[in-house]
Amino acid sequence: VASRLVLGAHALTPSHHLAASDVARLEAVLSQSFTDLQSAYYSIVGLNKLGVSVADTDEACRFLQSNVDPTSIASLFYAAEASQSLSGCEIPVSNETRDFLLAAVSEDSTISQIHNSVSTLSSLGLPLASQEVVSALTSRITKEDNVYAITLALQTAAHLSQQADLSGILEEIEDLAARLDDLGGVYLQFEEGLEATALFVTAAYALSDHVDMEPPLKEDQVIQLVNSIFSKKSWDSLSEAFSVACAAAALSNNRFHVPVIVSALGPATVSHRQPLLQLQVTNVLCDPLTSASVVVESASSVTTKITLFFFYSSGIFELNFMNSQPASGYYQFAVAVTGDSRLVANHIELKVKVSTEVVISNMDLSVVDKDQSIGTKTTRVDYPSKAKNSFVADSHQNFAMSFQLVDVNTGVELTPHQTFVRLHNQKTGQEVVFVAEPDSKNLYKFELDTAERKSEFDSISGTYALYLIVGDATLENPILWNVADVVLKFLDEEAPATVQTKTLYVPKPEIKHLFREPEKRPPTVVSNTFTALVLSPFLLLLILWIKLGANISNFSFSPSCILFHVGHAAMLGLMYVYWTHLNMFQTLKYLAILGSFTFLAGNRMLAQKAVKRIAAEQSSRLAKYRSLR
């Protein structure tokens, strides 16, 4: 078990690298126009690391010369480093500036300042006292114990003379490496993030190359670092892109470790049509490793172990695997890349697929009676045509289908991963899928028991389009074949109750309130007739009164008389208004006013009448009396 674990650990291969498109995007990020000296430094040096130069070298140089501030160490550093990457660009430095830079190398400066001034002095080709720098750095490292500072110290040490005692600083590489976090055995990075990790890798290899000592990083650690640095494909800032470019340059060109990226050109698939397995062997920057040679150490799944050599042609390693006549399926290749002792991750497990093409043969369709299996007529259908007649199966019948799947190239029967039978009801959009299974002779048989399967169809009778779906990862020609139309008839057809499942989000039907119909009324002729009859007594009264000689000759136009009758009429009028408009309380209020007023007027009128009548009676009595006398 232990040895297997070790093997498994050795099988760690870079899972992330910069593909050609990623390099192009990295270049694009770095090729932004400069806004200040710092961005100019990132762009120029970053592009230089990728092996590209700035579009306009003279323009860039002028930008550096005009923006450099001789009183700022950082500014001098950016300008000096960037000018190094531009051919024929010089930053003029005065003696004072040189003294200023030399003065910065002391225990009182930060590591960043020391780094900047040492790098500047070294890029300008000015002399510096290496041992002093070492002692300044050593004392500062104890004060500034963070990843960025120590990384800068490593970077600084790479500029110092080899005579100086760099062993103390070299040990820092190991210390820093111990601080790296292992994430799931795949990634190795600092808590501080991608930029710190990338800069550390750059500095570690710069210093190791400088002193010619292998950095204390194991092969797996290198691969894990590659994974974590190149897993991010979209860079947030210029400095992040710069750090990735530097790390990529360091990992693809140093004296000790060059991780190898082996990738298949296109899918790792061979077939009779495309018998060549093509591999790309590159470094992390996607540059082909021309000096390498590629050997297949084993190709398992087939029992035979064979050693096959890839042939190199124009950046691509090729192998005609079909020469060994493999059956279709997956093959585990153990590939070794040799030719350079620096190569890391040069033993690679590769899954290679041998694909083929399939053809459907002997497709027979029939409808079988359950009671008597004799007398069934089978219909043969040839791919890719569709059966002319549709098949009808009711609940006493089974629909049956049988076919074989054959490899076009070898004639062998195949059992692909996916052999599904799909029944699709075009009206309802419902689809039901069954799995067809092969028997021991690899003959596929599919039977649809209409009675038994009715629940899967929701008992909806109708015409279903029958499709055969054949697919496998090793098949180049997946098949989707509309074989025939099948009419299924289910016995107890239920109302499609399950249809209204997704009605949660649709408007509900409108509801209009149905007002109660007014009742039918009798004809108005009847009521009009009776109205006339009811009114006739009043008319009769008037006629008879006129005949009898009724009169109102006694009417006196005294105010009380008029007011009484007006009040009386108003009270009767109030009854009408009560009927049409008022409620009882309002009516009683008005009636009280009208009533008291009419009462007073009536009282006065009757009193006047009485006075008049008494006077008249007296006078008539007097007259009678006189006449009697």
């Binding site: 498109s21 799931g184 494909k233 899954k351 996916q418 949660l504 409108e510 509801i511």
Partner: protein, 439 residues
């Protein structure tokens, strides 16, 4: 003490206003659970788009022992992103129950799984009506896989036609196909709230890619859910993606082309747009509605009466607003319905857009009782909008009935002739001059 009570109400409304303002800014504290910190780098474009939109992202590994979602009964975060498919046990005091409680409390969750799916995510899926397929299975489609598929036909090119037809959830319709690689799901048919955001094609299925199919696959054909969503009854939103790669920088940038001969090549898949639209929806930046002022009154008046009378002509209006780019703007919908309900709806009618508000005039039914004006707007992709206003409707007063029915004219005639008779008689009786009998 009523003053106190008012104070409490005031505080409550201020709190509500704060909540709304919070949502309106489209941000919110978001906890991101990762399998390992590197996912932050491999999915940086997705996280950057969230951060640019104002989300306050807190990244933690899923087994971090300091994890906590609820403290002293308060939610520490508004949203939760679980990008840790393989987690077997969440760290700290997060587990499936707390996540479920978080959803019940209105929190929004975005879950991405992969073929390495662990038990907690499967359980969480079951809680939400989504059944993930087993670990190590993958959605396979031999007819619709990408040219860069590594060999098992699991790098699927999903047609945008298989997207849910709901622009608030999936964004503007596009023809860009979607790259997917991961585990399949099926929706619980009993749960009507599950949304099939992205389904596989008819030829897709979910199974172990390296084992022959001996049993019926978990998901087949269009039943295979690649991305599923859920809006709970409390408007909490959950999105499950079967693929963590779906959100990755690599899938955002990869050119996509189906492997079948003659397929069209797209320089970019629809992943980026879809992921952004989904995150907008799930974190309540899109499809959020609220009710503004509600008014009702008889036509021709401006204030509601104490009680309406049956068959009154009534005007009802409601203001509905939608959150857009962090501001509340008038919502534009043509299918908002008003119901006039007494236990059952008596009237259901469409509201018409009228300036900034929706209104309708209608005649009240000839039935009296206690009614409600109810707007219950539940549409795909939008939060559930509900407003109900109670009014009473009384029968006609006695003065409001019909006064003169033709069939009853004889009665009116008799009464009025009686009254006329009385008046004429009183005049004649009082003022008649009798002829001298003696003559």
């Amino acid at each position: 003490d009523p003053g106190d009570k008012r104070g409490v109400w005031f505080l409550f409304s201020v709190l509500c206003a704060c909540c709304l303002a919070d949502v309106a800014r489209g941000d919110g504290k978001t906890l991101v659970l990762l399998d390992n910190p590197n996912i932050k780098d491999t999915h940086s474009m997705f996280f950057r788009s969230l951060a640019d939109r104002g989300f306050d992202l807190t990244f933690k590994t899923a087994d971090d022992p300091s994890l906590s979602l609820i403290k002293y009964g308060q939610f520490l975060y508004d949203h939760l992103i679980i990008f840790s498919p393989s987690v077997e046990d969440f760290g700290g005091n997060i587990n499936v129950e707390t996540i479920t409680a978080f959803i019940d409390g209105g929190g929004n969750v975005l879950v991405a799984a992969s073929s390495d799916i662990g038990d907690p995510l499967r359980e969480l899926g079951s809680e939400c009506g989504i059944e993930f397929d087993e670990e190590k299975t993958a959605v396979i489609d031999h007819h619709n896989y990408d040219v860069s598929d590594p060999g098992e036909h699991t790098l699927i090119v999903a047609d945008p036609e298989n997207l849910l037809k709901a622009p608030t959830i999936v964004g503007k319709p596009t023809d860009k196909p979607i790259l997917f690689k991961g585990v399949g799901m099926v929706a619980d048919p009993e749960n009507p709230l599950v949304l099939d955001i992205l389904t596989g094609s008819s030829t897709s299925y979910s199974f172990f890619p390296d084992q022959p199919i001996k049993q019926y696959p978990h998901a087949v054909g269009k039943n295979t859910l690649l991305i599923a969503g859920l809006q709970a009854r409390n408007n909490a939103r959950v999105v499950f993606s079967g693929s963590l790669h779906f959100f990755s920088d690599a899938f955002f940038n990869a050119p996509v082309q189906k492997a079948l001969p003659g397929s069209k090549r797209y320089e970019q898949p629809g992943n980026r747009d879809l992921a952004e639209a989904l995150s907008r929806w799930v974190f309540k930046e899109a499809g959020v509605l609220r009710v503004g002022a509600v008014a009702h009154h008889p036509v021709g008046e401006s204030t509601p009466p104490a009680a309406y009378t049956i068959t009154d002509l009534v005007e009802y209006s409601i203001v509905i607003e939608m959150l857009s780019e962090g501001r509340w703007v008038p919502f534009d919908g043509d299918d908002i319905q008003l119901e006039f309900v007494r236990i059952d709806p008596f009237v259901r009618t469409y509201l018409k857009k009228n300036g900034g508000k929706y209104s309708i005039q209608f005649k009240l039914p000839d039935v009296y009782g206690v009614f409600q004006f109810k707007v219950d707007y539940n549409r795909l992709g939008y939060t559930h909008l509900y407003s109900s206003t109670q009014v009473s409707v009384r029968p006609l007063q006695h003065t409001q009935y019909e006064r003169f029915i033709p069939s009853a004219y004889p009665y009116y005639a008799s009464v009025f002739s009686m009254m006329a008779g009385l008046f004429v008689f009183s005049v004649v009786f009082l003022h008649m001059k009798e002829k001298e009998k003696s003559d």
